[in-house]
Amino acid sequence: MAGLTEAQVQDRIREEAKKALASGEVSAVVGWTSTRFEDKTKPYFAETEAECDLLVWNKYCINGTGKFALDDRYPEKKIAIIARGCDSRALNRMLRDKQLKRENLYIIGVVCDGKENAVCEGCQHKNPLTYDVLIGEPVEEQMNAERFKEIEAFEKLTPDQRYEYWAKQYDKCIHCYACRNACPACNCVECYADQYRTGWQGKAADREQNQVYGLTRAFHVGDRCIECGECERVCPMNLPIMRQTKKMLKDINDLFGDYECGLPDDAMPVLGTYKLEDPDEFM
């Protein structure tokens, strides 16, 4: 952290949180608090000044905070979100998807130097992209040259190898929908997967339903994925969920040009628009 130590950032977070609550415009500040385990923190809603002192900042602050802004879609007061780069992109995602109103958010941006979380290694946005107040000095962003390395390696396998791999993975899936609930791009009021009566898919957590869910999910979020990696982090069965969504992103990059989501001036998701000069493989 350029300039500030972890403890200083934590102090600044608490200070900004208190300031936000004191303004009277904010109902809660969403950040992290400690748990009984030293290497785990949990998302926390500080609602009083005293509770602000429970907010922590350390390398174990890995949970995304952005999605919690959606807990109350019709808030009476603002909600303050302590946002790292990824969290700010999550908020931009939901703003672009018209699920949040910017005036209902107070974003306390924190420059993040990566957490104890695998996805942080490839992070291209350590600096929050959208914020009302920023804690820490912005650092230089690193382009991740290996953004799609894992996908490229996987693409080299034979179709049967790939199928077998995924089938085994989907055998493990327990249908808990943690990946969906943690995902800032999964912001529907009612997920298609919950509409059993429409018959999109069955409720059974067997391989076939899980495959349908996995692919549909990839397709639904693929053109809006902000690459925060929450889906993969929250999966209790450790499915490599990003390996599906990143494939979508890779193809989008290949077919339609450079593409990254969750930026402040986010373009229309590629599946929501078209260009006359798009490549055409169906002649």
Partner: protein, 357 residues
């Protein structure tokens, strides 16, 4: 009897001759893109020759409950139209051995038995599977850091409802002491008699990592805390997924649906989760548990209070799976402590120290 550690696979070999033996192991997944196999989760899998048996270390991610209560269970098939008929699908009549399940999981089966066998109703699907199951419980060797079963009234060294109890020998880490608690258990040990190394004493001194401060009357206290402000606070970080329910050994909710194939079809039941929004959603769209607060409250209340009301015991067995796997790192043991400490009549609630209203 005493079973040498080196004979473990031999023993399972013998047992799998006339039964499917489910034992804890690591799932391996082929991933040639990463140069071969990647190690998956620890889980109960049917024994195969030479399988690595992971009796120590952390508990499995998924409990062994799906052997008795599968994630998806076909119930009956049917035909519609002029030749309408219904054909019941019964569970396979195969003997199954649950080998090496922890006392917490053994206790969870006791709780499931209560649900599926009592109150004048026997669930025939569960019953059919249950009667074919022999439980070989393994006393905890090194409890995970999220374990708190002894605070919930269990003994991590002993599962009274097991058919066979198995512990590490007191004088040797390379041997297990097996003791039959039931006739089924005796039969099983009989099969292993060639491997018997004689009598021995079991090491039964393991304590849970988490010792939590729980009000012995918490069930009654919580019954009066339905509208307590603590619920607002502790449910805030929840993301509303079903992880805790699906990794919980005592969650037994299911939904029934059908799969149609033209004029034919099949009725099946599958796990459901009270953490899902559609769990209580009614046909008209109204939902008595509209937010995660009501849903998580229901789950905690069920585990810690409602079940006591109906069956006289706490449903949570303290296995710690939900604590270890919650994406938001929510912790039921922490809630138990907070609820124990809370003033049941408080108007407000805060986590901040010294500010208890």
């Amino acid at each position: 009897m005493t079973l040498a550690k080196k004979d473990l696979n031999k023993a399972l070999e013998i047992l799998s001759k006339d039964a499917v033996v489910f034992a804890p192991t690591f799932d391996m997944i082929e991933d040639p893109s990463e140069g071969g196999q990647t190690m998956g989760e620890k889980k109960f899998m049917p024994y195969k020759e030479g399988m690595f048996i992971a009796l120590d270390g952390p508990n499995t991610v998924k409990p062994p409950k799906d052997v008795l209560f599968p994630n998806v269970e076909k119930m009956y098939r049917y035909k519609t139209g002029e030749n309408a008929e219904i054909v019941e699908i019964f569970p396979e009549d195969t003997k199954k051995i649950l080998f090496g399940i922890r006392p917490c999981d053994a206790r969870s089966i006791e709780a499931m038995d209560k649900v599926f066998f009592t109150k004048d109703y026997v669930d025939s699907y569960y019953a059919k599977r249950r009667e074919n199951v022999v439980i070989v419980s393994m006393g905890c060797v090194e409890p995970e850091r999220t374990c708190f079963c002894d605070s919930m009234g269990l003994d991590p060294n002993n599962a009274p409802n097991a058919d066979v109890m198995m512990n590490v020998a007191k004088d040797s880490v390379d041997a297990f002491i097996l003791e039959a608690y039931t006739d089924k258990g005796k039969e099983l040990l009989e099969q292993l008699k060639d491997l018997d190394g004689g009598a021995g004493e079991a090491k039964r001194d393991v304590k849970c990592s988490l010792q939590i401060n729980k009000d012995p009357e918490l069930d009654k206290k919580l019954a009066g805390m339905f509208e307590h402000p603590i619920w607002d606070k502790i449910t805030k970080g929840c993301i509303g997924c079903g992880t805790c329910t699906f990794v919980c050994p005592t969650c037994y909710c299911f939904d029934i649906d059908n799969e149609n194939y033209g004029a034919e079809g099949c009725k099946y039941r599958c796990w459901d989760s009270c953490m899902f929004s559609d769990y209580t959603r009614m046909a008209g769209g109204a939902n008595p548990r509209p937010t995660k607060k009501e849903r998580l409250r229901n789950r905690y209340m069920h585990k810690l209070s409602y079940f006591n009301e109906r069956y006289g015991e706490t449903l949570c067995v303290g296995c710690g799976r939900c604590v270890a796997n919650c994406p938001s790192h929510l912790d039921i043991s922490e809630f138990i402590e907070k609820a124990t400490a809370a003033d049941p009549n408080a108007e407000t609630y805060t986590d901040a120290p010294g500010k208890e209203a």
